[in-house]
């Protein structure tokens, strides 16, 4: 495999053929914000939070292959604002009441809002969905009012578990994630599925029953620092 270099915000990054901008950046310890992309899962390129400018064009860093000599902009004020707006729209689209949400402190959406210095989401109208919680399964519950349609559960179920518990329904603004049955109890979902592991759903939509709030405040993932810090730590050594 042949290697080459390109730059992100002026930092030289080594890459290999076939790597995406994000993969090369991760390996070099440069964090690019993301929500739909997840280690071990197929890239989707859906959320656009990873948007960077490569050669002046806006592209999704999680799907765009790195190219030799390319100049990539990532943490510019313009791009940061764009990302913040995208994240803010996700807050407006669902019902995100962090103070009472069991994902709080472990939630990637919330952590991204912190990282991008989003304050109160006030820019856009709230869509205020009113979807019933699906608690039919003995071990798993779904509060899709918090779903950000990242599709991680869909890919995990299909590619890792070899099932199709989750899928998209509807089109455009009406597109959302649904289960392959009248409710979760009528699917072949199991608590041991990768799709429902604590790792896959970035928010508090897929709930592993009876585990909420058992991790004390102070010991939750993002109590220890910003999202992306683990990648950035690589660089600092």
């Amino acid at each position: 495999m042949s290697g080459f270099t390109f730059t992100i915000d002026g930092t030289e990054i080594a890459a290999e053929d076939g790597q995406t901008i994000m993969e090369a950046a991760d390996a070099a310890g440069v964090y690019i914000p993301r929500l739909c992309d997840h280690e071990g899962l197929r890239h989707q390129g859906g959320c656009r939070v990873c948007t960077v400018k490569a050669g002046g064009r806006s592209v999704a860093a999680c799907t765009q292959p790195a190219a030799p000599g390319q100049t990539v902009e990532s943490e510019t004020p313009h791009i940061t604002k764009l990302r913040r707006d995208l994240v803010e729209m996700l807050f407006h689209e669902g019902n995100h009441l962090c103070p009472i949400c069991e994902a709080s402190g472990n939630c990637e959406l919330q952590a991204m809002a912190y990282r991008l210095n989003m304050t109160a989401p006030t820019k856009f109208p709230y869509l205020e969905p009113c979807r019933a919680v699906d608690a039919s399964h003995p071990d798993i519950a779904l509060d899709t009012n918090r779903c950000i349609s990242c599709g991680r559960c869909i890919r995990a179920s299909l590619d890792v578990d070899g099932k199709s518990v989750f899928g998209y329904v509807g089109r455009g603004i009406h597109r959302r994630v649904a289960v392959n049955g009248s409710d979760l109890a009528h699917t072949d979902a199991a608590i041991t599925d990768h799709a429902v592991s604590a790792d896959v759903c970035p928010v508090g939509c897929i709930i592993r029953k009876r585990t909420g709030f058992t991790t004390p405040i102070g010991e939750r993932e993002f109590d220890h620092g910003l999202i992306g810090r683990k990648i950035e730590e690589k660089r600092r050594g």
């Binding site: 103070p99 009472i100 069991e102 019933a132 919680v133 608690a135 039919s136 519950a141 709930i207 029953k209 009876r210 909420g212 709030f213 058992t214 991790t215 004390p216 405040i217 102070g218």
Partner: protein, 480 residues
């Protein structure tokens, strides 16, 4: 600071915090009717339905910003029952108790020093500019400093047990999510002597005030009533965290005793009146006219047999001696009772800190799921009842809450009327000082109205004066 403004009080969805007093005058300008209207949070009982059982202690604590721990723990206790846990691991129960004592202490300190002290130090009719904590700080800087540090101590205890000073997540169904690290314990033990000393002094202040102003205290919105609180199951002692229900008459005669609190519906009825959003509970056997009762610190002094910590018990004996052991009916004595409880909490906290169970690692228990659970606790302001049903999917299907301020509804309304008759009857103009007398009466109950206090020492309270024809004569708003 902005311009003075009138607070509009309307029945909106705000938690606690908003009150309105209406006073109706007859043709001779005498008080005919005086009522306290409170906008309550019944919304919680509705929108909690469908939520998952382990979310409940975290959601319902948002009812309140001053005593969220009480709601957090009452809900957790109900959920313990629902997940089939009748006995928590010792570490869990003791961590919760620690949290609760920290909470009761800081809430009482807040009320006494920040909200009540200006009235007590400067007089009920003192100029409004003087009736605030800053004037207290100027006049008695050491007292003010202690008030702040004692409150901080209580809040630090909450933070150590719940993760945050306000709206944490410590209690989970069946237990707790943490134990107390040795470093935190030692830091608390390092200041506990000082806290006790200051609690002694605050208690002396409240006691002396009460005894020196005996005439005022006995005459001010003082009337007999029934009293209710939890008492310790084994011996009838004060127990703020757990126990059985007991109610006594104004003469101290038992109405019911050692009642398992899951059966509260057998003895209490919640009455509804068209002009208030808050229910009026009463004791079933006695009926609505004479079955109303009061809860809170003084009610606890009146119902329990004794206090299980020595200094607080001696202090209670002194308080009860004023009425020769019979229940004390003077609402202003609540301040004294509150300081006795602060001392009790500090004594309990000290004992707990010396208990190695706080460093235990068995944090949670599980059991056989049930459909229904009641959790009752003695919150700073009095008895607090949480009642839930949860279906086999773990979703809440029913919720009923009776908070301290609701238990005291009739009592507060009686107090408002009493004071209005005494101080406003025959007046066509309301002065700020008169208005404050009404507030003092309400404030003595420390209702959660004070949550919404946006300027220290003041409540967004509005008084309206009507003539016999129902015309509005005058309106005063205490909020600026």
């Amino acid at each position: 600071m902005g311009e003075p403004r009138l607070i509009e009080i309307s029945p909106v969805t705000r938690v606690e915090g908003h009150g309105k007093v209406t006073i109706h005058l007859n043709g001779n300008n005498e008080v005919d009717e005086a009522r306290l209207h409170i906008v309550e949070f019944r919304g919680f009982e509705r929108f909690i339905r469908g939520r998952l059982l382990w979310e409940v202690p975290v959601i319902v604590q948002r009812l309140c910003g001053i005593c969220p721990v009480s709601h957090h723990l009452a809900a957790a206790k109900a959920m313990d029952v629902i997940i089939g846990v009748d006995e928590l691991p010792p570490t869990a129960e003791k961590m919760r108790r620690l949290m609760h004592y920290g909470q009761v202490m800081q809430s009482h300190v807040l009320h006494f020093f920040h909200l009540a002290a200006p009235d007590l130090l400067f007089g009920f009719g003192a100029p409004a500019e003087q009736r605030n904590i800053f004037e207290v700080l100027k006049e008695q800087p050491e007292l003010g400093r202690r008030a702040i540090l004692m409150r901080k101590f209580g809040q630090d205890i909450i933070e150590a047990t719940a993760g945050k000073k306000i709206h944490g997540t410590g209690a989970v169904p069946g237990g707790i999510n943490r134990n107390l690290p040795i470093e935190r314990r030692d830091a608390f033990l390092g200041v506990i002597d000082e806290m006790e000393e200051w609690a002694d002094a605050a208690l002396a202040l409240a006691r002396d005030y009460t005894l020196q102003h005996a005439m005022l205290v006995e005459g001010f919105a003082s009337f007999p009533s029934n009293y209710m609180s939890l008492v310790r199951k084994t011996d009838g002692a004060l127990d703020l965290y757990h126990g059985d229900l007991r109610a006594v008459t104004a003469a101290g005669m038992p109405i019911f005793d050692r009642l398992d609190y899951s059966r509260y519906h057998d003895v209490l009825v919640e009455d509804v009146r068209s002009w208030s959003y808050m229910k009026f509970p009463f004791i079933k056997d006695l009926g609505p006219a004479s079955g109303w009762y009061r809860v809170g610190p003084l009610a606890r002094m009146d119902t329990v047999d004794f206090i299980g910590t020595p200094k607080a018990n001696a202090a209670r004996n002194e308080l009860m001696a004023v009425t020769k052991g019979a229940p004390n009916n003077s609402i202003l004595v609540n301040h004294w009772a509150r300081m006795i409880e602060v001392l009790h909490c500090i004594e309990m906290i000290r004992d707990l800190l010396h208990d190695p169970d706080l460093q235990g690692t068995e944090l949670r228990a599980t059991g056989e799921r049930r459909e229904e659970g009641v959790g009752v606790i003695e919150a700073p302001r009095g008895n607090l009842i949480h009642h839930y049903c949860v279906d086999e999917r773990d979703q809440v299907t029913y919720c009923n809450l009776i908070v301290s301020t609701t238990h005291n509804n009739e009592g507060m309304n009686k107090a408002v009327k009493d004071v209005a008759v005494q101080h406003l009857s025959g007046q066509a103009q309301i002065t700020e000082g008169m208005l404050n007398h009404v507030e003092v009466a309400i404030r003595a109950y420390d209702p959660c109205l004070s949550c919404a206090t946006h300027a220290l020492g003041q409540m967004p309270l509005q008084v309206e004066l009507f003539d016999a024809a129902g015309g509005l004569l005058d309106r005063r708003s205490s909020a600026t």
